[in-house]
């Protein structure tokens, strides 16, 4: 008989820029080592996962990361009193810092997580990527942090147009000239704050790898994917699992050298010479994780077992040639449900 595990999951925003929550939940519900009961943790009352009652048992609103860790802890304490959570899987970049900080306190309360360390989290920040590439001998595109468009003047001789303009947590746009740089700078900084990262534009095909490191340098899971269909905002709407040994070697190297702890996503670009450049490291499960589940590597299940301190075996094989194709779907929801989550913060 499988043990029953109650798991809090964030990132229920299954929208055009999807949070990973719903995909993570699908993996958890397919776990063979436990029976999952899902508690949704949402920021907005229109996150679609809140209303998916067939996969989410109950949802609670939690405060935005900008409210600080004290408020988050207070809310999680309340939720824990009602639900007795065994595990939380945070899925938003912007909230990871708070959850990493709270990990020891939550552990004492009986809520388990398996997250990267604070050092790992900070070392791979977009602003630190050039240093990261140098330290671990991984190719990364040239990049600089800027606090104003005027700052770019100092670096303009180091870059050729186009350049990629990135927010510190989210968003990336291509600028072909200074006017576009100004527009993207303003839009992205208004949403995500400063600094803005300008990055050398690499032509090529986009590849991602998701996986799990055990914190001691060992790979417990790794699935590479080639984006097949990319939306206007750069999100994979379709992708295929591949067996590129260079990508897998790079992933093992990343995990071994950084002693990565927890789930991650590597975003890479392969140029025409077949050289991979690491564009970003996301210290969490990606939204396309259900492809990994579908090819035989249930990453959400692994994370829960690691969080609970259970013995896990590395998963070394997967079925290449399986694809994911995302789709959108309308749910019909009673206004009373929207009212309840909006007014009481619970559904």
């Amino acid at each position: 008989m499988r043990p029953k595990i109650k798991i809090g999951v964030t990132g229920l925003n299954a929208i055009d820029n999807p949070g990973p929550g719903v995909a993570v939940i699908r993996g958890l519900l397919e776990a063979s080592s436990f029976e999952a009961s899902i508690i949704g943790l949402a920021y907005e009352s229109l996150e679609p996962g809140i209303y998916m009652h067939d996969i989410v048992d109950r949802t609670y609103q939690i405060p935005y990361p900008t409210s600080g860790t004290d408020l988050l802890l207070e809310r999680l304490t309340y939720i824990h009193e009602k639900e007795s959570l065994d595990v939380i899987i945070p899925n938003f970049d912007a909230e990871l810092f708070s959850f990493i900080k709270l990990e020891p306190k939550l552990k004492k309360m009986g809520i388990n997580m398996f997250m990267p360390t604070l050092d790992q989290f900070e070392e791979r920040l977009k602003v630190n990527l050039p240093k990261f590439g140098k330290k671990y001998n991984i190719n990364v595109p040239k990049s600089e942090s800027i606090y104003s468009v005027a700052d770019f003047r100092k670096h303009k001789d180091d870059f050729e147009w186009p350049i990629v303009v990135k927010g510190k947590h989210y968003d990336a746009k291509i600028a072909y000239n200074k006017d576009q740089l100004q527009t993207h700078f303003n839009k992205i900084s208004a949403k995500w704050g400063l600094p803005i990262i300008i990055q050398e534009f690499k032509h090529g095909s986009e590849f991602n790898v998701t996986g799990v490191g055990d914190g001691n340098g060992n790979t417990l899971s790794a699935v590479p994917m080639r984006k097949q269909y990319i939306t206007e905002i750069g999100k994979a709407w379709g992708g295929i699992a591949i067996t590129d040994s260079k990508l897998l070697d790079l992933t093992h190297h990343f995990i071994k050298e950084t002693k990565w702890r927890g789930a991650f996503e590597l975003e890479l670009m392969k140029n025409k010479d077949g050289k991979f450049y690491l564009l970003e490291i996301n210290p969490r499960i990606p939204a396309w994780v259900y492809l990994a589940v579908g090819v035989g590597q249930n990453i959400p299940e692994l994370i829960v077992n690691l969080a609970l301190g259970n013995e896990v075996e590395p998963i070394t094989t997967f079925k290449a040639g399986k694809m994911f194709i995302r789709y959108s779907w309308e749910m019909i929801v009673d206004i009373e449900e929207f009212e309840k989550i909006s007014t009481t913060g619970e559904l």
Partner: protein, 84 residues
């Protein structure tokens, strides 16, 4: 000449490279050529098989096979070409 042995070719001419995730479609003669490359046949051997099967002269077949193999190389389906 080393064609990637992992490449999957269906009867309908769908070619899938599991290393890169790329896929292509080829016509029935393309399928025949890829299958012969997988059996490690040389270009001369492939030419001879095709002459026996199709009503075309050696010059045309040799040119078409070379063109096709160059395409396979372009798409990294063949690692190198050293067979005569």
């Amino acid at each position: 000449m080393n064609i990637n042995k992992n490449i999957a070719v269906s009867d309908s001419g769908f070619v899938f490279n599991p290393t890169t995730g790329e896929s292509y479609t080829v016509n029935p003669i393309g399928v025949e050529i890829i299958e012969m490359l997988k059996q490690e046949k040389s270009i001369n051997e492939i030419n001879q098989v095709l002459i026996g099967r199709y009503n075309a002269d050696i010059v045309t077949i040799d040119k078409d096979v070379s063109d096709f193999i160059n395409l396979l190389k372009l798409y990294s389906l063949i690692e190198n070409q050293n067979a005569a």
